[in-house]
């Protein structure tokens, strides 16, 4: 198909401006390097008091309609919050919980919405998604080999999921399984979730928490099915596109944070009698990184503006474009941050590596740039 030449527009509401200001101030204050390093050494990786504050500020239900206990804002606001969380390396189950909440809403399953959404917005419960598998190692939402087999009035699950974000912090896990060969989304309640044996994964980004879960033999009631068949595919595509955007925002924010750290150093560190920032071998790659970040932000804000969660059109194209470019931006600045700090940059103590590590999480989760462009090629070229 031909790429649209149609009007391009980016959301830029007053609410968005106010939220940006408030969120920047809050996160700058909360999410200091010291604090985030401390959290990275804890088991859960996040602070429960802060989590409650996020709930009180309405962030946990930012893009959830007010009738379900949310703030009733949109994807652009959510995207901005993710960008700022990346900017200040903020760690929490925010992304996991937000995506799980959106899956429930998108599934339109009245019972699950009633039972869960307001608790997920109020911070009293945390949910996450289990969508990828070590078995097929694919970034496709429907590349599912885990199964749910009907057994009277329950399903018996089998198979393994990996990279279950904040799995160890979750009260509920929503996984993708095949029922009779067709995709389905199944939501595990708190009792079943707490009985799972979860294997914490050791990640490059040590500030993140994720687990690998084997579901063999787990029994769930038939009422646990959130969506099945085409409906499940629709929700999966929706959530993948949304994840592309939110991870892109996280990466662009991370890139901005890495940029600031590096610039501060390049302005003060002297060698050969000059500030290292005056050497073009230092400054020009930073300019290149800046251009990639600016590209990314433009693509991200646009993707958030046109987001409707469907595949095959503008929404999918925009979200994949954002993910492709912002992964490159965050990767480049992460690398330049380390290199520009010299020996200091190679130490644990220097903050530079934190940015590269966070960038790598965002880059490889849900499809790296090559993957995104391969899909875009199919959409745009074929």
């Amino acid at each position: 198909m031909n790429l649209s030449e149609a009007p391009l527009h980016i959301d830029c509401s007053e609410e968005l401006g106010l939220l940006t200001e408030a969120a920047t101030n809050y996160l700058r204050d909360k999410s200091t390097f010291e604090e985030m390093r401390k959290l990275a050494d804890t088991e859960s990786g996040y602070d429960t008091e802060t989590w409650q504050e996020l709930a009180d500020m309405g962030w946990l239900g930012l893009a959830v309609p007010e009738e379900f206990g949310g703030s009733g804002l949109g994807i652009s606001e959510l995207t901005k919050i993710c960008e700022l969380m990346g900017r200040f390396l903020f760690s929490s189950p925010f992304l996991a919980n937000t995506l799980a909440t959106q899956v429930i809403l998108q599934s339109k399953s009245e019972n699950h919405i009633q039972d869960w959404v307001s608790d997920l917005c109020s911070g009293s419960k945390i949910a996450t998604l289990a969508l990828t598998e070590p078995n097929n190692d694919s970034w496709e939402p429907t590349a599912i080999s885990c199964t749910a087999t009907k057994n009277g009035d329950s399903y018996t699950l089998s198979g393994t999921k990996n990279f279950v974000l904040d799995g160890q912090n979750a009260d509920s896990i929503i996984g993708s399984f095949l029922i009779d060969g067709k995709p389905a989304l199944i939501m595990l309640d708190a009792v079943i979730t707490s009985s799972l044996s979860q294997l914490p994964e050791k990640l490059v980004n040590h500030a993140r928490r994720s687990t690998r879960i084997n579901f063999d033999g787990v029994q769930v009631p038939t009422s646990a099915v959130l969506a099945a068949g085409d409906d499940a595919v629709r929700v999966l595509q929706y959530i993948f596109s949304l994840t592309y955007i939110l991870l892109s925002a996280d990466m662009a924010g991370t890139a901005n944070g890495g940029m600031e750290l590096t610039l501060e150093y390049a302005r003060v560190r002297e060698q050969f009698g000059k500030h290292i920032g005056s050497y073009q071998a230092i400054s020009h790659p930073l300019v290149n990184a800046m251009l990639l970040i600016e590209d990314s932000l433009s693509l991200i804000y646009y993707a958030a503006t046109v987001f409707d969660g469907t595949w095959g059109g503008e929404s999918e194209i925009a979200s994949r474009m954002a993910k492709s470019r912002s992964a490159e931006a965050a990767d480049l600045i992460g690398r330049r941050a380390i290199q520009s700090h010299g020996g200091m940059g190679f130490t644990w103590e220097c903050h530079a590596h934190l940015f590269l590590k966070r960038a790598q999480w965002g880059q490889f989760a849900y499809g790296d740039p090559v993957h995104q462009r391969r899909h875009l090629a199919a959409l745009i070229i074929d």
Partner: protein
């Protein structure tokens, strides 16, 4: 980029589109230049000049410039719409580029009432072409070091010019030059000795000698000044203010500041154009578009093109900018645009496989060898108007607040 438009503007857009479609001149028998820096012969020049004149007479150029100087006194949105529709309809470029886009805006900003009365309208009509005398054989990037001398004759008030400028685009066609010259060799620093002139090209002692470009076509000149006398009123601003005005010129030239009369200075090539070429290309025995690496590159070009369009929109909305880098997008305009065009052309050549070697005039060349030509011509963008390296220095200093590299 279209914004959410009022019915009035929508109607205007439709009207412009119709006019351009109906009045777009027929393709000439000779190849047209792809950029204003490539006007290499008189046929091309006359064709483009007639087109610019027609657009102006129709009311579609200088729309946001004041009526008293020949503009149409309308809000900038109107000109923006015309510019966009020119790209959509793919009309020929505006030949008086230097006049419309940087000399003119500079005169409007720094010129006297008389200078505005005298120069602006003929810029719009293309009756008087402008060229730019900044670079010299010895000093290009280091513009503050220019050595062409302008000595004031105390008797007549005239200035006597000696020295030479080089790479002067459109010098042969031009009536006037914006000229940066040294009036005070003993000034306290190199910048303080510079003055700015609106200098006649048809004065005794001024000579423009064409230089073959990379493509063996003409387009720029070396301009020699041999005791050339220009009137006192050629001086713009005061003596010693040349550097300040020259910097102002560059912000217009590089698209950092708005205020240009309008129209496109390049024939715009889009990724879609390259894509269309690619459809017919065979590489190593297979359709080029089956090659996974080329597919990846083509998609990446689409992403860049999209990002650039979106960044233009974002640049106009301060709430969408990174607070630490409010001027980043504006200052990056020239760099991003020129490197984008260069990348696009290079890709369009690369995907042709063995055929990539053929050049214009070879009957078997793909797309008439235009991409091969475009690839060479694209260096005009990354060198002219301040090189990409210099652009990066500027961004590093002014946007990233890094210490000066000099």
């Amino acid at each position: 980029m279209q914004k959410i438009e009022s019915p009035e503007l929508k109607e205007f857009r439709a009207e412009v589109n119709k006019w351009l479609t109906e009045n777009k001149p027929a393709k000439p028998s000779f190849p047209l230049p792809q950029s204003f820096t490539e006007v290499g012969n008189n046929d091309q020049f006359e064709y483009l000049k007639a087109w610019q004149n027609k657009v102006y007479e129709a009311g579609y150029l200088g729309m946001a410039w004041p009526v008293e100087y020949g503009g149409r006194g309308k809000p900038q949105e109107y000109q923006d719409i015309v510019n966009e529709e020119m790209l959509n309809v793919r009309t020929p470029l505006m030949v008086n580029a230097v006049g419309l886009s940087w000399a003119g805006p500079t005169i409007m900003k720094h010129g006297t009432e008389e200078q505005k009365q005298k120069y602006i309208k003929p810029i719009l009509t293309a009756d008087e072409i402008w060229c730019q005398g900044f670079s010299e054989p010895g000093h290009g990037s280091d513009l503050g070091n220019v050595q062409t001398k302008a000595v004031r004759d105390p008797e007549t008030g005239e200035y006597v010019l000696n020295g030479s400028k080089i790479w002067t685009t459109l010098a042969e066609q031009a009536e006037h030059m914006i000229l940066l010259a040294r009036t005070d060799p003993d000034a306290s620093n190199k910048y303080a000795g510079l003055s700015f002139f609106l200098s006649p090209m048809h004065a005794k002692g001024v000579e423009a000698k064409p230089i073959y470009k990379i493509s063996k076509e003409y387009g720029f000149c070396q301009t020699f000044f041999d005791d050339a006398r220009i009137p006192a009123e050629s001086l713009m601003g005061e003596e010693g203010h040349g550097w300040m005005i020259a910097m102002s010129v560059l912000t217009f030239e590089r698209g950092v500041t708005g205020g240009q009369a309008g129209g496109n200075l390049f024939e715009i090539t889009t990724v879609r154009d390259v894509h269309d070429t690619a459809v017919d290309c065979v590489r190593d025995g297979k359709p080029a578009l089956e090659d996974p690496i080329l597919r990846d590159e083509l998609v990446d070009l689409y992403i860049s093109e999209r990002a650039t369009r979106l960044s233009k929109y974002r640049g106009e909305h301060s709430a969408l900018l990174v607070p630490e880098r409010m001027h980043g997008l504006g200052l990056a305009n020239k760099l991003v645009g020129s490197e984008g065009r260069q990348g696009l052309n290079a890709f369009a050549v690369r995907l042709q496989g063995n055929q990539a070697q053929l050049y214009m005039d070879d009957e078997n060349a793909i797309n008439g060898g235009l991409w091969q030509h475009g690839q060479l011509a694209s260096f005009a963008g990354s060198i002219g108007g301040g090189t990409s390296e210099v652009q990066r220095n500027i961004i590093a200093e002014r946007v990233l607040n890094l210490p000066k590299s000099r």
